[in-house]
């Protein structure tokens, strides 16, 4: 909580203004504007092809905006992409770690890539193994771990360099329900320490765990707010109902968005 109050007068951790990306004559992300405060857990929802992945790729500096701008951790995504990459973490269901390296080797490798010193890596490796209860398993190959453990380890590794913002792209897909909740506990802990979290998910109950959510439809943000407020305003019981009401894209748009 100290991190929160200390940064209360700082700029938002993520701020997008009219952020736009076109591919040919198709607009994948259409002038979206939003900001995420430091330490906030922000759910970034939308149907397949709505433009979420394109938006995230711009926010982490992998894709240049066609127009508009965004700042992440105080850096401009178009002109200071290197500064952003040092200050953010990223994890997706697809990007895991090196399966034929051990748990400890993966942690050390990523610590090195993030530019941590040998002393920092040793200290944080120990703390990480302890927190995950993996001390006994540090010599195991990552490929031999159950999926849930891989995902928890991947999140811990993505947090190793203490990034200001972490982007989680469907981190809990296919994970069992207990591990899914354990994973969210880790997200809360990171947020409580001041890390800003932007997370996408297809599990609508997880949307309820976010401080605020946005729902993207056809490249635009169709709705944004705290889950409880949004449910009240739209007169629905759950975020799932809200999502289905808002996110049903025209089939033509869904097809056009296929490449995004």
């Amino acid at each position: 909580m100290t991190a929160l109050s200390a940064s209360a007068d700082q700029a938002p951790a993520i701020e997008a203004r009219e952020l736009t990306r076109r591919f040919g004559d198709f607009t994948a992300v259409d002038a979206i504007s939003f900001s995420v405060a430091t330490g906030e857990v922000f759910g970034f929802l939308g149907a397949n092809g709505a433009g979420k992945t394109t938006a995230i790729r711009m926010l982490i500096g992998l894709l240049a905006p066609s127009s508009g701008s965004a700042r992440v951790a105080g850096h401009d995504v178009a002109t200071q992409a290197d500064g952003i990459r040092r200050r953010i973490g990223y994890m997706s269901q697809r990007f895991a770690m090196y399966e034929d390296l051990t748990v400890r080797e993966n942690i050390q490798l990523f610590g090195g890539i993030y530019g941590l010193s040998g002393t920092q890596i040793r200290g944080r490796t120990q703390a990480l193994l302890l927190r995950l209860g993996l001390e006994h398993a540090h010599k195991k190959l990552v490929g031999a771990l159950p999926l849930g453990w891989k995902q928890k380890l991947a999140l811990s590794v993505a947090l190793l360099h203490e990034p200001r913002v972490i982007f989680l792209d469907e981190p809990t897909g296919g994970v069992d329900p207990i591990t899914r909740r354990h994973f969210w506990q880790m997200i809360y802990e990171a947020a409580a320490e001041g890390t800003t979290v932007l997370v996408t998910t297809h599990y609508m109950d997880e949307a309820e765990y976010c401080d605020r959510i946005s729902i993207m439809v056809d490249g635009r943000i169709a709705a944004m707010g705290a889950p409880a407020d949004m449910k009240r305003d739209h007169g629905v019981e759950s975020v799932d109902d809200l999502f289905v009401r808002l996110a049903r894209p025209s089939s033509a748009a869904a097809a056009a968005g296929a490449g995004a």
Partner: protein, 324 residues
Amino acid sequence: MSVPAAVTVDAVTKRFGSVTALDSVSFEVGAGEIFGFIGPDGAGKTTLFRILSTLLLPDTGGARVLGHDVVRELWTLRARIGYMPGRFSLYPDLTVEENLRFFASVFGTTIEAQADLIAPIYGQIEPFKDRRAGSLSGGMKQKLALSCALVHRPGILFLDEPTTGVDAVSRRELWDLLGRLRDDGLTIVASTPYMDEAGRCDRIALIQKGRILQIDRPGAIGDRYPLPLFAVSARDRQALTVAVRRFPYTASVLPFGAELHYTDARAGHPANVIQSELGVFLAEAGLADVRVTPIRAGIEDAFINLMSSAEGEGELATAGNTVS
């Protein structure tokens, strides 16, 4: 069941090296029902589907599909089953229409001859029939794959995780389509890691680490929950979690959307008594807007409970204890 079973599986075991993917699995699927396998990645769902689709041999045990043995009568069976694997496995460089035409011709039929059967699904993607399959969205790929699995008019459909990675809207649409196929008499065996899809099945099997934990109608699975269960909410959720954990009769506390699900350790204790005890306890702990409501267990409650007891002292049960 008076109707002969569409699928009979008897003590099937399959090992890969030191990993037991399926551990003496037995079940029956009735003709004309949607039977769902619900479980996380690594539970053994894909191995089971590959055995039922004659693509993999069981180590021990046997299985019959539509009355045919999956090992000895595989050639008879292959023409009669529709199989949609979990990974997109159509030709990405062929168009939508070319893919469908190819699968029809492999089975000696045509799109036109099967139009009545596939129209409800294929009709939704037909406007894009000249688009290459590789550039379709996730939901549309699934509809094309389903069309291809149906085009030879199979007697049973095996769908391995048809909704994984597909958004909530497309998932609903796909289940609506499956419901219509079932209403027309088709037997469907599907798997999913999404517990909320269990309600779309006539019966479900909860599966974890190669073992079936329970088989029943989705509604009945919740009724078997062994302990009193409540939905609890308060203005400050984090403080609520901490407070409920201190309640002396807590068996488990887990986040479920905007609420917590609280399981009381006292089997058979009256719900209204627990409700008022916990309400008073939380109010005394200083929490505002406290609501405690007795609820019926859902599939995910049941799954977590069965998983924890199956694991015993295992790592997942240990992890579960620290979940808030």
